[in-house]
Symmetry: C2
Subunit: 337 residues, 2 copies
């Protein structure tokens, strides 16, 4: 009974603070929400909530604002993901369906997410390590250089220049290409290390040096260099949330691919929406931001992650709804390719 009301109070505080951006006091609370108790009672509750670390007051005589812990409780127990209306879902679907290639899908996804949530959107390209090879192409550039193009079944295209130790002719390229495609086609990129290891046997001895160069680049690109491609959009939304001080830090963090990977990658939970709040985030400079992320791709075929980054005082239910919806449709679109 008692505890119930305290939770209601916390929820009310979070909701009010998110919408007004101002510390919320006991009077405003009983006014806006129809708690049928007096402000004094609320004050008592708030004192307890503060003692337990869910809220704080910025100045001795100001209203309360939620702490990271408060938001955490709110997200976990006091709120539900806000579902999207069918109209909205249709809009999302048609917007994404207009895309004509992978780059375009990702670009549209990031824009959409930024616009829906009015936050910074972050979308990871379909992960290399989870894709399978669809085709390998070798294109001679100069006498000693070769362009290696690798096409995955998610439509992603990776390219690398290979420095060849020896000169090569057209024939050897054709042969090498045939071998590569025969062996790699359809293989998951995670399995490739093993496959590549036994490749040299299939190549004529005099071509081994060149072949080895190509193989090592493949490995390097796909396995060792785990660098994933991520794009960011809606940075201008950061100006609305007055970070004032920390804005620079946040922008800097958002330019670091590695940092973004960490942000999205922290949970492996593919299906559901993950929320990381404030200091839970171990990235320096994003201590005052929250991340709402989800994986996309079908359940049996996870591709990568996407999400939004915003101030801790963000509208979690809506953001979570948007992230979930966009993840679903993006996954769906990509599954069709």
């Amino acid at each position: 009974m008692v505890d119930d009301r305290k939770l209601a109070v916390l929820r009310a505080i979070v909701e009010d603070y998110v919408s007004t951006h101002e510390p919320v006091g006991s009077r405003a609370l009983v006014d806006r929400h129809n708690l049928d108790v007096s402000p004094a009672t609320i004050r008592n509750d708030m004192a307890v909530l503060e003692e337990q670390g869910y809220i704080v007051q910025p100045h001795t005589s100001a209203g309360r604002i939620p702490t990271d812990k408060g938001y955490r409780l709110f997200v976990d127990k006091l709120s539900a993901i806000k579902p999207f209306s069918t109209a909205e879902r249709r809009a999302i679907e048609t917007f994404l369906a207009g895309a004509y290639d992978l780059d375009d899908v990702v670009m549209r996804t990031v824009r959409l997410l930024a616009q829906l949530t009015r936050q910074v959107a972050v979308v990871q390209y379909p992960s290399l390590s989870k894709s399978a090879v669809r085709h390998v192409e070798l294109v001679p550039l100069t006498e000693h250089r070769l362009l290696l193009v690798l096409i995955t079944d998610t439509g992603r295209v990776e390219q690398r220049v290979v420095e060849m130790p020896a000169t090569f002719d057209e024939d050897s390229i054709v042969q090498l290409r045939a071998v590569l495609n025969a062996c790699l086609d359809g293989r998951k990129l995670t399995d490739i290390a093993a496959v590549v290891a036994e490749l040299p046997e299939r190549v004529e001895p005099r071509e081994r040096a060149n072949a080895a160069a190509v193989f090592s680049v493949i490995l390097e690109t796909l396995v060792a260099r785990h660098e994933e491609k991520i794009i960011v959009g809606g940075a201008s939304n950061l100006t609305a949330a007055d970070f004032s001080q920390g804005l620079r830090e946040v922008l800097e963090a958002l330019e670091e691919q590695v940092v973004l990977m960490r942000l999205l990658g922290e949970s492996d939970d593919q299906a559901s929406v993950t929320v990381t709040i404030g200091a839970e985030n171990d990235v320096l400079g994003l201590r005052r931001t929250s991340v709402v992320a989800a994986g996309y791709g079908s359940a049996d075929r996870p591709l990568a992650k996407l999400g939004v980054v915003g101030p801790t005082r963000m509208d979690y239910p809506t953001a979570m709804g948007a992230v979930r919806a966009v993840a679903r449709y993006t996954g769906q679109i990509l599954a069709e390719s």
Copy 2:
């Protein structure tokens, strides 16, 4: 004689204001620069400069700050591009030389430029219309879909999904690929429209429908859709220049590819460094920023543009030096591929 000093005063005002970010008065001027006249004389000069529209005072009793017109005069007549020391040039060179493919070159270029100038850097990918085809690859995706991959001699790789009107088999793909490569290899993309027009004759009649689909996508990608790829870096540098108000607008503008194209593309002057100051810029929201841009690529083979965007009160000589140096070395690196 007289006019000479007024110009010196303007130069001094620009330099001081750029370095201090504060309106500069007559006293400070004679102190910091060794003009051997009295403050009163300077005041007279400033009155004239103000009347002519080169400087203004923000408040009745404050120092002067340069107007756009003032910066323009400064850039055109009163300053020289600051050359880079050999040490700096070597650093640039080695940093760029570490890149292993086109994406990496562009990424490094944008980072470098942002870091050198402490502004926002903008780099355009080597222009499609100025490249030549090196290889065309077709990869079957599903029964009705084909991935078209187009590799240019600048190492740029373009991909598009083609919806095929009819089903196709492996043989027809092989044939089509052969025809495409035979006809397009080495052709400038600007010439391609003509070449593609006569392509259908070379394909067996029953394959014409599919072939036509592929051709039209090629045309669409390369000719009609003139959309060029641009990347931006160093957005966090905007926080240093206290736009306060307009920051949002600037960030928004920087997210629009089309706007960026306009920014860089305004001049066709390939060789030299171009400066666009404040309101000279017709992009709304970038009225308080300046753009320093240059083309890169060798003189006989222009590739694309790059530059920096910053507040009008920026250090033009240094920025111009950096842009010129980076453009040179990036062009050089790409010429080697």
